[in-house]
Symmetry: C2
Subunit: 293 residues, 2 copies
């Protein structure tokens, strides 16, 4: 399968963000991409750097009639590609989610995933904006395969990747928005980026599945002025089912790429390393506890 | 904490294997090591390359009076160090385990862990020899900390690392015996070694804990002649709680090392990345199922 990734800078001009993505979908499809993955909350800036009730105005309907999805549905259909989008969902007044919506090649909505793990750190005040997902870790069936779509903070949780694998996901996909703070030393910034790749490539290995991660790039100021903002570290990547790196985007520039992923390799790898065979399910029930002391 | 690791070639002469380890324990302790970790089944060759009932003769008593533990209890006491050993346990006639035994600085047994995940692959016929552990994923308390001791195949399972973390482990420790088959291409051999490091460094990240992995090294022939034997890939390593590599041993030679691990860093890292805070325990119960389709 040929996978297209779109790593771009966000701006406050949503129409422009959408226009640039739609153009890139068309370019990537012309290069053969069958599945195109976008970064987290690609239509806007990463607005969680400050807590402001007016920002909920950015949230959108994600029903099949959604105006926010329309350009992506059109682009998917015109270019005959599956597209993974990431939306700030307005579900009801006072109830908002961080939701990935997958569009089928014919422009219909294939499925949705509401981000389950919600962070809250200085400059990433997501618990203010996003209600934790209530659609479980459920892969989305598409014409290019059964997609284990997760979002950003989920990427640190082996449980999320494993549950997607146990429910038959054929690939793990993470739209994400993560970067460094100028308050950290360069050494610490590099350690964080390395840790982020390590843990996700680890999920590939543990589950014998390829992983696609698409991150935003560039600096976004903190509107409150409380911090120096976030420098999103790009470095979108694709790994195979042994965690082997198939593609790595630059750290500071926009990037698009078409990457070939051999979807048949997973079964070969899982025959060599049959981790699912030997799981000690008799001893795993305590994983559903907060802590065991 | 200063951690000593002993990566060595195995031989069929058990007395010689033990003598060399005891010497190295003394050397590493003189260099300041407070905790010394050995490779899996360090007293013998890796005997699982073939299925032979006579090999059960190698299994040993691991009670407090164990003759097999005696040299390590003596070395721990004389050198005032905690020692992680790996034994082929004879529990009863026809009932054998692959068991890590941790010796306290005073020479007493601090605790035992029976390998929970048991592999079975060509040349790694462990299901023939080892009954799966029945002591759960339970850390072992010692004077140098609460040790999350796991063994080899366990290293591929995020569940094992997580359960140790949830039970308060302060460090993850993996005695192991893994290598390459000459039947695989050099590229495939390297991919396997990389995957092995990735998944374990991933456990460090996901749990905010340091990891110590000690592997055997060198080629061991297959007594049955069915395969070309195993070339154990050494590469013992120590990683910090962001998966950062603190030490990496050579791939083809014996090695000892003393590595400083900052045991206070985990809490700092977990404050930055509070993964335990945000686990979706309401959605994790299905992890205790074999598959969900």
């Amino acid at each position: 399968m040929k996978v297209g990734i779109i790593q771009q800078r966000g701006s406050s001009d949503r129409d422009d963000n959408r226009r640039r993505i739609v153009e890139k979908i068309s370019e990537l499809a012309k290069q053969g991409a069958e599945l195109i993955v976008n970064q987290e909350l690609h239509d806007s800036l990463y607005f969680c750097q400050t807590e402001d009730v007016d920002i909920f105005d950015l949230a959108v309907d994600i029903s099949d009639d959604s105006k926010a999805l329309a350009p992506y549905r059109k682009a998917a259909k015109e270019n005959d590609v599956v597209v993974v989008t990431s939306m700030f969902e307005r579900r009801a007044p006072g109830l908002y989610h961080n939701t990935a919506v997958v569009i089928e090649k014919d422009g219909t909505v294939a499925g949705r995933y509401r981000k389950m793990h919600i962070p809250d750190d200085p400059a990433y005040y997501e618990k203010f904006y996003f209600t934790p997902g209530d659609m479980d870790f459920e892969p989305i069936d598409t014409s290019v395969g059964r997609l284990g779509v997760l979002v950003c903070w989920d990427q640190w949780y082996p449980e999320a990747a494993r549950l997607m694998a146990l429910r038959g996901a054929e690939i793990l996909i993470y739209p994400t928005a993560i970067g460094t703070s100028a308050a950290d030393s360069e050494e610490e910034q590099n350690r964080q980026l390395d840790a982020w790749m390590l843990v996700q490539r680890g999920h590939a290995v543990a589950n014998g599945l390829p992983v696609i991660t698409v991150n935003r790039v560039g600096h976004e100021a903190d509107p409150s002025g409380a911090t120096e903002g976030i420098t999103f570290w790009g470095t979108s990547f694709v790994a195979g089912p042994q965690g082997e790196l198939l593609y790595r985007a630059p750290r500071s520039e926009e990037a698009t790429a078409v990457v070939e992923v051999d979807m048949k390799r997973s079964e070969q790898v899982r025959r060599w390393w049959p981790f699912l065979r030997d799981r000690r399910i008799d001893a795993y029930a305590p994983l559903a506890y907060r802590y065991l002391r």
